[in-house]
Symmetry: C2
Subunit: 255 residues, 2 copies
């Protein structure tokens, strides 16, 4: 059984493309950024995957994720070097062709001519290759665009560029109600309030309650987190979490 | 087409379990740590996934990954609270049962009795539930063990605990030759040396060459990275990368 056999769900998936993440050379931070950005507009992230710079792997992941989720956000692999194979892989995943995009080619040529950043050689020209039927995603930082193909948003791996591209994507998404979280932390073990938390979850089945142990300044504690889109109900759950902590003989910590 | 339809490959997958990663609340660092740790013993990480605290999702991911890769390393979801469902999900994935493990139960009971860390209540007792047929993974930090079921190593999400558990796993892995990397960095755009790098990749098809742009102290540059297990060939590639950088009119930076 694979993700393909599971029911479709509302929400988004993130696809991180790059050997450098899988080798541990580069710490991915794009997943967390995209997740928090999407939560603000009410779109939950349901799954994330990291795949290597291998076309068959990218194609398989794109097809599985784009079939199951409303949106897929990919990062990485759209630069000028031989291991940047994301654009070709996306074209393959959607069974379409790819070629130099005239407007992108012209814009990149103009940028390289105007700035002292090297020649607009064959490698850099590759960044103008866009799958047929894709729409562009503007890159306000370094010109080479991302693109949207089907429900997949293909973005750069460099965090600052990816973040700039997300802003151009915002208007294309059907926003839900913003997802917020309330947190209550205290110096107690999560096992101490686990039963009470489980009972509370049954009272609020639509708002996921999580429990996260931490260690700060040598003292252990637990953060209780509730998520939802209704501010009044979030406040209600927050108060219930405070009472849970107090009933266990602890004091909620200042936020 | 999903990962299930792709050929089996040697190496490992990482499965991160937890809503807190997908919401962006917690930054995953376990993936990078496990990847670097495995590289030292010659096991490459081929794929990573993050799934929510939902049994069907965990089961689907475990089955897909354990069928395809030599090893799967999971993190998260083995604590005492209602959202800690990894042990039950692993039992379901392997179509076996689960119950309290007598030795684990006794060890946890003794620990809670001896230390001032709260009562050994029903929630904490859940941490003694281990799928049938699993072998334990020692937790030298906080006693509640991980476990190995089939080719899946089930570990805690808290980084320090996960890292301690990995040490107990080491002896169970068929180590390959350690994977190393050499890096040559210079202040030049990656598009400038892309063609030379692609040609070099053809000369060394078994050693993945990567190109990673960076910005340090306001200056842009590129790091060229070669990976492999043969020290002599790595040194050879490193020298070729130095010559590539010099031919482009730049100087390799000190490591």
């Amino acid at each position: 059984m694979g993700a393909e056999d599971l029911a479709r769900v509302r929400g988004a998936a993130i696809l991180v493309i790059g050997d450098e993440i899988l080798s541990g050379r580069t710490q991915d931070t794009n997943t967390g950024y995209i997740a928090r950005w999407l939560a603000q507009i009410g779109i939950p992230v349901r799954e994330a995957r990291v795949v290597p710079d291998i076309e068959a792997e990218i194609v398989a992941a794109v097809r599985a994720l784009s079939a199951r989720y409303d949106y897929v956000f990919s990062t990485g692999g759209i630069g000028p070097t031989h291991d940047d194979i994301t654009a070709d892989s996306m074209a393959a995943a959607f069974r379409t062709g790819i070629d130099y995009h005239p407007a992108v080619f012209a814009a990149l040529a103009a940028r390289y001519a105007a700035m002292n950043i090297g020649p607009f050689n064959e490698a850099r020209q590759r960044m103008a290759r866009i799958p047929f039927g894709a729409s562009l995603i503007a890159n306000s930082l370094s010109a080479a665009p991302g693109f949207q193909i089907g429900n997949v948003f293909v973005m750069a791996g460099i965090p600052a560029v990816m973040q700039a591209m997300l802003e151009d994507v915002r208007g294309r998404l059907a926003a839900g109600r913003a997802l917020s979280a309330v947190t209550v932390s205290a110096h107690l073990g999560e096992g101490t309030i686990a039963a009470g938390l489980a009972a509370l979850q049954k009272t609020y089945p639509d708002m996921p309650l999580g429990s996260y142990p931490f260690s700060r300044e040598g003292k252990f504690g637990t953060s209780l987190v509730a998520r939802g889109s209704d501010a009044a109900r979030l406040a209600e759950v927050r108060e219930a979490l405070v009472q849970l902590v107090k009933a266990a003989g602890a004091e909620p910590m200042p936020e």
